[in-house]
Symmetry: C4
């Protein structure tokens, strides 16, 4: 499988970084993740824009996903141009120069029993 | 990203507001949410209709999602024209005058360990 | 909203009824649910076929979803032509004479802390 | 229902096998699952390729899903050509010679209260 697969643009309408965690390791820290698969033979240059309820969008946040590689990026680790605030509703749009596949996952460990959610992102271009 | 993205009409077949919560804050109260992203430069005027098992639909519930903004609306806070009953199965249809992206999330805190679910809504128009 | 929306045929590749529950009420009993929205003005006659790993499919299970109504059907309550076994992997295909929207949800209460999953079903006809 | 339904190629951008479990049975062991429905009358020959963050892809892993059957395959039980490492981010692409429907589910039992996620995979060919 070396041909590029997926779409250039995706949207995730849900976004929220839980404000607390019970775990102390990175593995069990509450996180909001965008998983990106680049199955093609060319590096993917990805730009993520984050939308809020009451201010102009933040970003773009820039990442490279190598050829035939996947990256699971955590919004709570975004830093440049600015961190994504915790305990705040947001949405995101993911744009790439080559086709990619995008999925959204949250691990919420505010309570000792963690909770998970995941959904395929919404593909915007045909 | 200022061009409108998404669809005008979406459906969420699942809907349910848990009848209880263990949390006392808004953050940890059980809730059923519809997340709406309006990435375009024009305000989105949104109408939500709620369907039930044994009565005619309720609504429309009307909301505005500003240009380049997101809103995460909680069904358990809907009031006009009528509240959405708890512990009752429902579905919803979301219609907008401009393209939007819609995702469905539930936080269930009936038990001390919360549970989460989420899925992209179903896009109805091409 | 009285025009029919959705598709005639849907598939859910995941299916599993947890073999136990900690709750004693119907609300907290572990369940596997198919949520069906019929937003049109004509009753939907729905047939569900259940697929297994090691035997021929079961069904069809027949249900009516009234005009402008939703039904959240639990696989663990299916009875005719035969019950769906617990603790067994299955898949399902949902066919309707009019367009519907289908979503899949599980509540797992094998442990005191319940877990949830949900996803839109896969629409098969254009 | 004997006509083949679905697509030939699917992608799951999220993949992760939790490194621990609290359950001792197969049922309650943390697992990452790809659920495959073959509703047609011909056996499906499926090849799964697994993508990582920092090395070339693994696979293909080969499976047969019989006519009118479903299989819920666990990545943590993949063995040939190599096991899928735990506690490692991955993605997967699923290819079949006949149309299938694919869904992704995780059961995480690292803590006594299990957590679940599920989403339809992303269909890649029309």
């Amino acid at each position: 499988m070396t041909k590029p697969i997926g779409r250039h643009t995706w949207a995730i309408a849900e976004g929220y970084i839980p404000p607390a965690s019970t775990g102390s390791t990175r593995e069990m820290t509450s996180h909001e993740t965008v998983c990106i698969l680049n199955a093609g033979d060319e590096d993917a240059h990805v730009e993520i824009t984050v939308y809020f309820a009451d201010r102009e969008p933040a970003g773009p946040y820039r990442f490279t996903v190598g050829a035939r590689r996947t990256r699971h990026l955590r919004f709570n680790e975004f830093a440049d141009p600015e961190p994504v605030p915790k305990n705040t509703d947001f949405s995101s749009v993911i744009m790439s120069n080559v086709p990619i596949v995008v999925q959204h996952t949250r691990l919420d460990s505010r309570q000792p029993a963690l909770a998970l959610l995941s959904t395929i992102a919404y593909p915007l271009d045909q």
